[in-house]
Subunit: 560 residues, 2 copies
């Protein structure tokens, strides 16, 4: 049986290690600065690919990431599997009930948010193909591609941005999610039509056969297979080992979907996606199972795919400023005008409509896959490919800050967002006031605040009504002149008397400072803290630590 030799295995492992290592590292870095991880992962690929690493050390780069040979094929197979599983996860995130519940607003926003950018892109490409620097063989297909590439939003990026901004469960958030899900579903149908048009089907079917089979597949899976999954999942989960059985069931199902759509002549990922939608719709697929599938795939498989993008093209050589500008302007304007207008006529105010437009403007995996197919079929040039990747990157990067700016009044904070290891201090003061003062000092040093004012306010408040809430926790707090809430946490293993109702000394002292004008925010955060620190066992485990880092690591795990 044919197999890889030792040298090839080393090469393959090296490639995967670098892709995964750099991908995740860049991804984490971007998360730190409140950006989508996918942006970091794509940049990691550009760094490892011909653009940077390959320009500086062309031989080493070609050794690790060769463009032909058994290692390349193996890597391609692994990337193919990665993207199938990734689309399964995207599908799992789609909740048909949400789409239906948000009704008209979502449909209006979603539809206009597709049609307008599609028209912008397709019209520009059809009437002025020269601004895209190319003389396409088939103008119709080319225009169709440009329209589609500008029209599809990135559901996972949008969901992430909404979660980061604590907007996920607001009315606006749900409308955006529903519109994005609708957009995604429609986008795939258009995508399959596109694939039919370019005739990537090597199975001899005509365009109309491919499209017909695709619609039939979608219909059967979403109507019948979805019900079948819903009926059989409790059975499967009760009979098979958990989570092993259900995990394998989910992945095998998505692979079967992938095989079927690949046979139809559409890309395999379409099948995985639709199976994901059908599976994710069942209430019997538990959050825990979704969590395990989701974590493994987004953290291990997804980076491999996103990094692989950058390996294909030299982004500097193929960078054409005019094409990039055209694509970005058309893409941004089309999406923001389309979605914003849709949201406006659905009853949202100006700021909200703009925010919805910025959110929906995020692009992601679908554009990338579409462009890969297009470049491989010779429909677009490397320059257009690079421009679309840059559209993906810039629209995703800008969504967060722009939305954040236009929604700053309606956002919510949670305790977990307000802490990091710098806001935790282990100490052993023996007086309550000293402990409080230290926490105020840390907060005021870090955020350049007036220490005297803060500490006197907190101590005053504490003397009025002590803030021990039991379970070894106290929450001294005050409203002060700041723009966003601040939390610092003191760990005092001896414990201090904050007069808790259970007469226990307080060992976790959480200083909570909130803006003066936001009464509700203070109440909400106090409730959040009290709620988080409900479970005595978990708190005992939190106290069993030896450093601030360790406390932070445990708090994330135990209370998240």
């Amino acid at each position: 049986m044919q197999k890889l030799g030792s040298a090839e295995i080393v090469q393959l492992l090296l490639a995967i290690t670098l892709m995964l290592g750099f991908g995740r590292a860049f991804g984490e870095l971007f998360r730190k600065i409140k950006q989508p991880a996918v942006v970091g992962e794509i940049l990691a690929g550009i760094f490892l690919g011909p653009t940077i690493f390959g320009t500086i050390f062309p031989e080493i780069q070609q050794f690790i990431f060769p463009s032909i040979g058994l290692v390349t094929i193996s890597l391609d197979a692994i990337v193919n599997l990665s993207i199938i599983f990734m689309l399964l996860v995207v599908g799992l995130e789609i909740d048909l009930a949400v789409v239906i519940k948000q009704g008209t607003a979502a449909l209006t926003t979603g539809t206009l948010g597709m049609i307008i950018p599609f028209i912008f892109g397709a019209a520009a490409a059809y009437f002025a193909p020269s601004i895209f620097g190319s003389q396409p063989d088939n103008l119709l297909i080319f225009s169709f591609f440009i329209g589609t590439a500008l029209a599809i939003s990135a559901l996972p990026v949008i969901a992430r941005t909404l979660m980061d901004l604590k907007l996920f469960k607001t009315k606006m958030g749900m409308t955006i999610m529903a519109a994005a899900m609708f957009n995604d579903l429609m986008g795939w149908i258009i995508f399959s039509i596109f694939l039919g048009l370019v005739g990537s089907s090597s199975h001899g079917g005509t365009v109309w056969e491919t499209i017909g089979f695709t619609l039939l597949f979608t219909f059967i899976v979403l109507i019948f297979v979805r019900k079948l999954f819903d009926k059989s999942l409790p059975y499967i989960q009760s009979r098979l080992s958990w989570p092993g059985g259900i995990l394998a069931f989910v992945m095998v199902s998505s692979l079967i979907g992938a095989i079927l759509t690949e046979l139809i002549g559409v890309h395999s990922i379409f099948g995985a996606f639709i199976i994901g939608v059908a599976l994710g719709d069942s209430v019997h697929l538990s959050e825990k199972t979704k969590f395990i599938v989701h974590q493994f795939i987004t953290n291990i498989f997804a980076p491999l795919f996103f990094v692989s993008i950058g390996l294909k093209v030299n982004f500097i050589q193929a960078f054409d400023p005019v094409i990039v500008l055209v694509i970005i302007v058309l893409g941004f304007l089309g999406k923001i005008i389309g979605c914003g207008f849709g949201a406006k006529i659905s009853g949202f105010n100006n700021n909200e409509s703009l925010s919805i437009g910025f959110a929906m403007n995020s692009r992601g995996v679908l554009e990338i896959v579409l462009s890969l197919v297009a470049i491989q079929s010779g429909i677009i040039s490397e320059e257009i490919f690079v421009a679309i990747i840059i559209l993906v990157l810039s629209s995703s990067v800008l969504a967060g800050p722009l939305m954040s700016y236009f929604t700053k009044d309606s956002r919510k904070y949670s305790f977990m967002d307000l802490i990091d290891s710098k806001s935790i201090i282990v100490s052993n003061y023996e007086k309550k006031d000293d402990q409080i003062k230290q926490l105020c000092k840390v907060a005021s040093d870090r955020y350049k605040l007036n220490y005297d004012e803060i500490s006197s306010r907190v101590i005053q408040r504490e003397n009025l009504i002590p803030t021990g809430i039991g379970n070894f926790v106290a929450i001294p707090h005050a409203k002060v002149k700041i723009n966003k809430p601040i939390v610092t946490i003191g760990i005092n293993k001896k414990g201090l008397d904050f007069e808790a109702p259970d007469h226990q000394l307080s060992k976790i002292i959480i200083l909570l400072l909130t803006p003066e004008d936001k009464n509700e925010l203070q109440l909400q955060l106090l409730a959040d803290v009290a709620n988080k620190f409900r479970d005595k066992e978990k708190i005992s485990s939190l106290l069993n630590i030896s450093s601030e880092e360790e406390f932070m690591s445990k708090i994330k795990e135990e209370l998240a």
Copy 2:
């Protein structure tokens, strides 16, 4: 860039789907009959491979699992990655502290349990190579291989068997685990020496260089890198997203280990294994992280590897009864005598010593990898390969039943082992006695017991002291003439008055029958149930169900 075509992708996906689907299905089937899943997975491979599927439908089998071509190479790459990650998990399971704590008993058992079967195997091979049906080129290497193949135990299989039998946390269980861990570590060192001997190192190093580097690598990782991991894990977990960051860190680390050992000239999995040991040793690597890594790898990657074994050889053609018999007799006798004797002189009684011997007799992944290397290097014939796989299967299958027989007095039961969806009935009786009678009826019908006697005993006990424990739960119980405990659960949504201390009606009625002569077992199980049903929120979620299947599925998830 070279890539797979659509037809090849279909072929690859088909191969993976069948491997994963059949592997997991057979694995689950074997778990159901209390056998190690790995046995089912290997048998699934034999079914899909040339032995059965290939004999009936040779063309289809060759189309899906061809022996040359790009798909074969891709599959080989994926299987290679699978086994690297699998060995990472095996490494994570090794707890150096346990090995050291169990001290002399474990060392004695582990050492004798290696030396005796090694001598049995090596001596037989050296002095009578003909009984193995072969005339080896290098008798020394051949004998060394046979000795090693018989001497290594399978840690994961042993751990699984001990958990199934509820012996994991007994003194005997910990001794077995420690001995098996020690055996595993030693086995790898011997394995690396073997690889040095066969000169599979294509890197020009001599045998002694390979062995030297291997020992150096092991030493550095277990001493320094282990400490480094322990120090940096809290930092990594507090700084990076959870569990994404740590997941990627664990996998990248194991890949780096794999690369280094492959470069040294040892198999890449050795590096992944040692890195796993070093990582798993840190108390900062949380159970939850291990759980996610473990679940995904053992349920998705491991089946791919185990199934792939069966694809390589026709197990019927290469089946030689004499060789199989020789290998099984030598393997069983060597291991059981060696370990049993070691246990005996460490102070265990006869039954315990025999049980330890049977447990340690389990073989697994190490033998398989070793044999793969050996067959590829031309050291052994297909017949010996098949015999060793049969040794792996039979020793693993027999470990459970044999241990079960010899330890039947010292085993423990837990509530979760005693229930399945057949033991749950939704009903709406309005009288307590009717509910109890129904549960007794179900239990006595299923296990052919005397219904009248059981129901009268339970009702009598209930009238004496009502068994409502609060939180909507009641536990009517009695001691009756049975060999092992029986549980049946009634769900009564209206609720019945079992006079619970919190004055709530009982909606989950758990009938617990235990053997007459085992007082402690009844107390232990009552405590287990009370403990499991402590959390009111979880119980409410359990009651929100519409079928027995669903209850079983939720109970697994919520209370496991």
